[in-house]
């Protein structure tokens, strides 16, 4: 039977967020068209390896959440550990971002250095807020799953929280090429 996993309400948030970020992405390309040299110069200052590392971290965290969802549905005991592993990946992502931001700021590259960096800090910053909220959600999921007496009781919660985390991954999948790969 066709259905959306988890709570319907989370999908209003997810689809709304995807729409807002789509507008962000298109706006980025419009400005890039108008200030091509500024964007090419800005892109060259980013470390693509860190962007790729962050992409792999979020992809792996999504895998862990998908495995956690399966585990909860089949009353498998490892569900909480998969969620913990996903949280670990998310924390690593934040650490990489902190390192990147710190390095840039130390080099004197800030929000208003050029339009490219305004986009960079704002978009990755808003995404980072999503990551932090997502980590809070995953921590809640971990506790509920870990403490659950009845294995099936947490399915809807894990589906809802998990879907939000996949959104966090999905948004970064587009942001990575925009800032780190497009020249």
């Amino acid at each position: 039977m066709p259905r959306l996993p988890g709570d319907e309400g989370i999908w209003v948030l997810i689809f709304g967020d995807m729409l807002v970020f789509s507008i962000f992405f298109i706006t980025f390309f419009v400005y890039r068209m108008q200030e091509h040299d500024v964007f090419v110069a800005g892109h060259a200052l980013l470390d693509v390896r860190l962007g790729a590392l962050n992409t792999l971290l979020l992809l792996t965290s999504s895998l862990f959440i998908a495995l956690a969802t399966r585990a909860v549905r089949h009353a498998h005991p490892f569900a909480a550990r998969w969620i913990a592993a996903a949280i670990g990946c998310g924390i690593c992502f934040c650490a990489v971002k902190a390192f990147e931001y710190g390095h840039k700021i130390a080099a004197g590259i800030t929000l208003n250095t050029t339009d490219f960096f305004t986009f960079y800090y704002m978009y990755t910053g808003i995404h980072l807020v999503h990551v932090l909220v997502g980590l809070g959600v995953l921590t809640l999921l971990y506790r509920r799953v870990h403490d659950a007496v009845e294995p099936g009781a947490t399915i809807k919660l894990v589906e809802s929280g998990g879907s939000f985390w996949h959104l966090v991954d999905l948004l970064w999948i587009v942001m990575f090429p925009l800032f780190y790969l497009v020249r």
């Binding site: 066709p2 890039r32 992809l59 895998l63 998908a66 495995l67 996949h166 991954d169 990575f176 790969l181």
Partner: protein, 89 residues
């Protein structure tokens, strides 16, 4: 033993390979920047589709949602690529 990996693991493998492919594409100079970037954007949208259909499980969603997702993906890709190619070089 490989064949018994759970489905999400295969999806992850494809996503990781696609990421590495994009990373390599951005470095290779022989196919030209515009072609390389078009491929990179296509791969990005394909990865989004995979995450949405498989991890978010939208392949089990009502047909209206799936259709909406496909249309949005095509529209997003075409818009981004058009704006990218229209930029000076």
């Amino acid at each position: 033993m490989l064949a018994r990996l759970p489905r999400p693991a295969w999806i992850w493998l494809v996503l990781v390979l696609a990421t590495i492919l994009s990373f390599e594409s951005s470095l290779s100079s022989w196919i030209g920047e515009r072609v390389a970037t078009t491929i990179i954007l296509l791969v990005a949208v394909a990865k989004v589709r995979l995450v949405a259909m498989e991890f978010m499980e939208l392949r089990h969603a009502p047909i209206l949602f799936r259709l909406g997702l496909e249309i949005w993906l095509v529209a997003l890709f075409l818009t981004m690529v058009s704006l990218y190619l229209a930029a000076g070089n």
